[in-house]
Symmetry: C2
Subunit: 789 residues, 2 copies
Amino acid sequence: MAGIADGRLTDGRGRDRMIHYAIEKQGGEIWLRQKKYEPRFALKTESVFAQCNGYMGVRASLGLPSLDGKKGMFIAGLYNRAYEEEVTELVNCPDVTGYELVLDGVPVLPDSRCLTEFERKFNIHTGELVITSTYELESGASFCLTDRRFASMENEHLFVQSIGITMQKGCIKHGGICTGIDGQQTNSGVSHFKKVNCRVYDRKYLHVEGYLEEDTLSILEGVSYTGEEEEAVFTLKRRGITGRYFFSIPDGGTWEFTKYVYIQNEKDSLGLDRQKKLLEKCSEAGYADVFLKHKKIMQDIWRQARIEIDGASPEEEAAVSFAQYHLLGMMPWHSTDCSIAAKGLTGEGYKGHVFWDAEIFILPFFQYVFPQAARNLLEFRYKGLDGAREKAEAYGYKGAMYPWEAAVTGREETPLYAALNIHTGKANKVWSGIKEHHVTADIAYAVWQYYSVTGDRAFMERFGYEIIFETASFWVSRGQWDEKRQAYVICDIIGPDEYTEHVDNDAYTNYMARYCCRLASVLAEKLCAESPDLYRELDRRLGMDRNRKSWEEFADRLYVPVPNEELVIPQDDTFLSKKRIPDIEKYKKSQIKQAVLLDYSRDEVVDMQVLKQADVVMLLNLFPYMFSKEVVKKNVLFYEERTIHDSSLSYCAHAQACAAIGETELSWEFFKKCMVIDLDDNPNDTTDGIHAASLGGIWSCVIFGFAGISFSDGRLNVSPRLPKHWKEMRFSVKVYGHEIDVKINRREVLLESREKFVQPLSVLVNDEIYTLTDTLSVKCKDKEEDICA
Amino acid sequence: MAGIADGRLTDGRGRDRMIHYAIEKQGGEIWLRQKKYEPRFALKTESVFAQCNGYMGVRASLGLPSLDGKKGMFIAGLYNRAYEEEVTELVNCPDVTGYELVLDGVPVLPDSRCLTEFERKFNIHTGELVITSTYELESGASFCLTDRRFASMENEHLFVQSIGITMQKGCIKHGGICTGIDGQQTNSGVSHFKKVNCRVYDRKYLHVEGYLEEDTLSILEGVSYTGEEEEAVFTLKRRGITGRYFFSIPDGGTWEFTKYVYIQNEKDSLGLDRQKKLLEKCSEAGYADVFLKHKKIMQDIWRQARIEIDGASPEEEAAVSFAQYHLLGMMPWHSTDCSIAAKGLTGEGYKGHVFWDAEIFILPFFQYVFPQAARNLLEFRYKGLDGAREKAEAYGYKGAMYPWEAAVTGREETPLYAALNIHTGKANKVWSGIKEHHVTADIAYAVWQYYSVTGDRAFMERFGYEIIFETASFWVSRGQWDEKRQAYVICDIIGPDEYTEHVDNDAYTNYMARYCCRLASVLAEKLCAESPDLYRELDRRLGMDRNRKSWEEFADRLYVPVPNEELVIPQDDTFLSKKRIPDIEKYKKSQIKQAVLLDYSRDEVVDMQVLKQADVVMLLNLFPYMFSKEVVKKNVLFYEERTIHDSSLSYCAHAQACAAIGETELSWEFFKKCMVIDLDDNPNDTTDGIHAASLGGIWSCVIFGFAGISFSDGRLNVSPRLPKHWKEMRFSVKVYGHEIDVKINRREVLLESREKFVQPLSVLVNDEIYTLTDTLSVKCKDKEEDICA
């Protein structure tokens, strides 16, 4: 029903956006609560409350039949292309959460008069979903129905759902629940499984195997329930199987039914017998026990990931933890065969494709907190090198040109054409797959960032160098010589701001390309001198000798836009000469994304000073020391006036940039908006999945922006600029494999390494150099002055 | 929700089944009415009330979002095979009936507290569906919502839906309706369109094109509504397009919105411009006018098809008319490229495949009432000859072996294996496609029946002879010589009764095979003598000289089971030696179809005297003069005791057989059950479509059985045996292209031909011979005696 509400039912335009969910703290854990039955918020809440463990993501849909939601289960790396004319997409897998309930002849439905109370809540720290509803039947009987679920972090293949019915009044004589595995799910009407096999083993385990072009998904389900009074009845459906289980509940009694589901892509195959045994063990242990094991792992994870902020409001605390929950949940912990999709594992949005979001917005969190996971993400890109080489060659370039949208291979997955314009019938070419090239520098940048912070030489030698060298070769071939400028230029390109297509010398792109080539050139020289064997091996394959000079020369002579007299860095060659859009506030306030395209054609938008999202501002974030504070501030303000923030990647970039120069109040304004991108009271957003990059952006803004953490040239930099009302921040970061607990308040910066540094770590706190062996405390020198700038 | 109700919620087992719907007569038209909102009956009612015009069938789903129904639109002949492992099936096409309604911010939903009254009714004579519901909003406003639809008989491509809102209290300030073409429909989770293109023309017409492997479906939709206050907004969805239209309604006012939809398989392509013009004209004329044109055609059709029965109860009248409505609605009037599916165009059941139902159960109605349509159905089989020849060859036989299940070609569409047994994992072989051969004789039988009644020589010369000769050749090759019997036998076969597999000399099959070969032999001789050119042409292609002797010999020497000492015709060689099933009453009374297979394995069932459906009894119907009344009665009673009637084809066969021998009371018992197969109060039946063959059986039973009409050897036979309470029947049949009005009551049989017979027609009334030129009245000789035996 969300569709019809667009812009008509909502009255929230322009209001300061709020977190839609109530926040409840319980023993250090935070719950988000939806306190009433809200069909309009069904799709959004399903994404926000999704159970994700990095292997699977299960939307937090109601189990009972309902009109308003959209069930979804997504498995990391499980992509398929249904038809030649469709793109490869993350498959919406068979549903395991749905059930029908008939009590004494009455079907129990949330959209009925019988529903008297409803609550859906979600524990950000454990990932547990609890849906509680109370029904009063016409017979006078009333009961409370509880549906609890989690995706296990102890065994990533395990999903558990427990359904409980507690009688508040009266009893149930004939109860029946019908549930199983439903393979009739589609990606919005497109089916993916070319064959679905269904089995029941031992009159107990339901098994569904779905065959895709390249993969086979296997789902095994075991159940346990109180008092097995009557034998279950299993029924084969098209593409699925259901079990019907029967029960009765005395007055005041409770009936419990638990599903243990083992889900795997057959590639990571554990035999059925072992799966059955595992489910058997779960069933013997029970929901609480299995959950406890999961929770312990989660606690360990949170010990590493936690960010404690004294003074932060519950909303702020919730938003930051929420971001981290989903970051943890979207990470394919045990695989290097896939990466992180734009919507994580929570919805069909962006077809589950992987963008630059993964390296630039999401990777930093993992790099500083779970470096092994960060390494996995980059190894995935290494595996994609051949595809990237093919793409470069296809476009007449050298080296490796990464796809704008990736799935499981390095192949470009961006469709060449978007759907036809419904009015003109013309196909809109999707230029981003053809012209948005910065991702190829972004990946090289991420590789070096990862190495800088982790010191993971083995990674560099096996994977990292090759990525950097091959992307540098691409950039050299991508440039062209400009006689007038006597410099290399990069023409006809799209930068991060996708409202400006086909421009020359996009600032972000050119700086990143220069960085990439400079890095390659310096590393090549170093390797040649220090690791001649590796160098020779790389030379044989990549032509190091032949190429390194060109990297150097390109880096030296590539034109990059510099701040003009007003200190503005031109976004590209023509941006500053375009006219401004007259009514930008209208679009900034609109709850409808890209509303500007309803009033202006794409060509008109391209010809105006109007940005979808941060572009130059992103550049400022990635190179925090390159420009003066004055230049940074000028550019943030200049571009913000021209930015609609139609991309969820935008607010966090602005917030971080402002924080980095100590413009904490301005930063806070952006941060407030960024925090609620998924949580606000706009029911039309986040419906097809959470915004993965923005969640990464929240973490970056807090750690890089407010805590002022950065790392370069082997030195940890801490330049805190806490928001006014934040009194203290405590968190940990990993540097060179050492976990450092950081405490920042207005009087002190305290760093404690859990292991001693053998070679003391150089640390810069507020521009003064220190060293860290195990503990470093830097006190505020002048008591009148904040340590946080 | 129907699934969970199976056998648990229903209390109707064993009760005499009733028509679930209220019956209302209005000016000679009959309405079926569902008087309240009944989610459990949603699926069934959607099938029963479907709008069908032979080209399209649209399930009578609620337009507003609802959990319980299953939308469906099926186009005659539009089949597709989605995956190699799936079978070809009738495609569930994009939906055009759904809409969302938001009134002053409140979504209108039938499953809500706001619904105060509900009625869904369906006019059997015009095919119009009217869904009326009353809502009372929380604001206090109340209104009546009406949704009327029909599939036009004037233009088979046209579907019209009109939605009206009449305020009963208060007004609507901001109303919005969101509706369009939704291509996210699947056949139970399987998508068929490999590409879907969407357009809006002239900011007015919505157009969706869906591409299948072989066909392209085009749907063009125009709308008109009262007061176009605000411009419509069109939105592209995945696989569809929606328009949002805005309105307000004053107190006491009415708002009307009408959709005119032009649907075509591009094969029968009318250009878009002409389609638009047609829709424009409709829009100018308005629903009432367009409906009137449709209604006039329907009235013409009913003038030919009507069966008036004085003394029949409203239920009986409704059931007979209902059968005829759906027979008319499933007939592809203008095509010879497809035939009639087991569920007509009302659901996904049996994948939309064509069985012997079409020729043996459905064709008779058309043959006597709309002979051109009957000819179309048979021409479809002629087009399938090549496929049938290929099937014969593949199995090592000669001639043409028709597929047990057909779609658009003559190819066999029966899957080789049914779904895996969920408990054993073994695939059940589907033997009917391999061993159920009688369809190949059924088609030859139908061809000759058609010719006998119509005298359509042109048809025989172009199509009919070839079918008969080729099927005869198949039968000869299918038989084998039995030394002991000194006769040909047909071994390892399945007759109509599918609970008895792999038997030898199935009575039905052997008699039909003999008939087919005898017919071929006689016709060959006649052709050779009377039409030597045609004979030579056929000889060249079919080897007439070579084959005709073998047809004759096979017919002469084929063993057929004859009545034994107890007058029982053995169903096959071993049937009478099998033991009876002990508890057949249990399964006869079960609301669950094929419940016997839950208690016994297929092999056990095969080894018992238990029938799914009429087998020998069918034989008695097809050859009404072959056996004495005594033999017929004996066999009907003998086999009925052993028949569960798990097939909907069974009751009508028994009813007709009993009527034919004057066992009217016994016949009536079967007929009562047959009448309500689709209409009864079992919500779990008819959910995936009406039972086409059974509806044909109702007509046959009334006309062949009760009115005692038959035609053979150029003579019309009328031997009425009206049920006690039927006082008079009036109907028409076409013989040799002459429409004969028949009136039968207890005193008189009156035949009036609308055109004079140049050569008077021989007529047998109650075993006495008369002739008909224009009028024939046969009075009851003895006033004490009924003319109806």
